[in-house]
Subunit: 210 residues, 2 copies
DNA sequence: TAGGTTGCTGACCGTTCGGTCATTAACCGC
DNA sequence: GCGGTTAATGACCGAACGGTCAGCAACCTA
């Protein structure tokens, strides 16, 4: 790969991020067990031994990939919630769009698929992900729903189950794009899908009077 | 396991199904690469060598698991569609409930998670699954939507994207139950989730006049 | 440019696992 | 029972892969 052609370079600062990006891409594509450390190293432009200078081993890489990935995006969504004024539905639209630009159309969109596939093999990592991504994300959307119900904009629904139904289409969109979409003809245009999703949501949540 | 205690038995007829069930359970739990053939054999009450009397190898087992699993359920849904009379929303409710009883609450509910995780490692199998499960399933729900629009019961929406949004919560329900739900406190009661889903769908699809 | 520090390398090791096959023993017809 | 057929076994093999480490070379400082 970078074999004899490129000369060795010493770039201690950049290696960890490059390794994490390579690891994320390959874990998402092939799964944890089917990904070889040597492939990760090669993709990061480095040899296998170097990987061990920065990470304790394969499992440590996996943990870092999951734990670093989506936390910044969640902080953004929380900030958006805190700063929003206007209708609750506009808030939901803004949240969905911010999520799409920060996660959906970036390489981080692979993390949900990866976590789904590996949760039962890494219960501790799954637990971290649940507490720090799933719970926080649910809380943001639950707050938006409650705001809409309080304003009389949405009808009264049990918030817990409603949040789960609400976020499912967003998750399936990214999961799909990292799995079957790679083998079959192009399916959805993501923007059209999201518009349809928001449109159906508007009707599904609207209070009867409106 | 069945070691020295149980005597050998010759049960040529039953072995393939027992092996397929064991393989499905373990593939769903651990993923394809992390599942050992010996574990599958042991769970099926058989030795590793026996497995090779019935399947050519690990990949053949995987193919069989995917290809046998959901086809009968799809035929059922198609029959339901063909035989239904009444409102389109009742048809959708009936489809969702039949799907839940034939897939959602059985071991076959693991297949979507498995296929999502492994699609990119087995493009041919993914293609089979797409053609024979995804497409057929989409077609059934698309027909239900079109019927509702023709009756003036649903508003006019672009059917393709609408189907994708429509089925996403059903898929996420089963995917969730086979991944993160195993590591975290119990989340949804499936029946309540499905009721909420149908309720939101009713509003999301309803024609404005109604 | 000489010497020292350290980021980087890749050959090597041990284990694990998919796959094979000679052997064993359950069943059946006579 | 007895022999023949074949389902079932598990010890074995080779390849692949995670992980190690002794040596190398890029960079720095004087």
């Amino acid at each position: 790969m970078s074999a004899a052609l490129l000369p060795r370079k010493r770039r201690k600062e950049d290696r960890p991020n490059e390794l994490l990006e390579a690891a994320l891409d390959l874990f998402v594509e092939k799964g944890f067990a089917a990904t070889r450390l040597e492939d990760i190293a090669t993709r990061a432009g480095v040899s296998k031994g170097t990987l061990y200078l920065y990470f304790a081993g394969k499992e440590a890489l996996f943990k870092a990939v999951i734990q670093d990935g989506l936390i910044p995006a969640l902080a953004e969504l929380e900030a958006l919630l805190a700063g929003h004024e206007g209708s609750a539905f506009d808030l939901i639209r803004a949240l969905v769009e911010r999520w799409w630009s920060m996660v959906g159309e970036t390489r981080y969109s692979g993390i949900p698929k990866l976590m789904i596939a590996e949760a039962r093999n890494f219960p501790e990592v799954a637990h971290f992900y649940y507490e720090n991504v799933v719970r926080r994300g649910r809380k943001v959307f639950a707050a938006a729903l409650e705001r809409g119900m309080a304003r009389g904009e949405f009808r009264a629904l049990e918030v817990g189950a409603c949040v789960d139904v609400l976020i499912a289409p967003m998750l399936m969109l990214v999961v799909w794009r990292h799995s079957l979409a790679h083998c079959c003809l192009a399916e959805q245009e993501p923007r059209a899908y999201l518009e349809m999703y928001l449109e159906m949501l508007r009707g599904g949540l609207a209070a009867p009077g409106l």
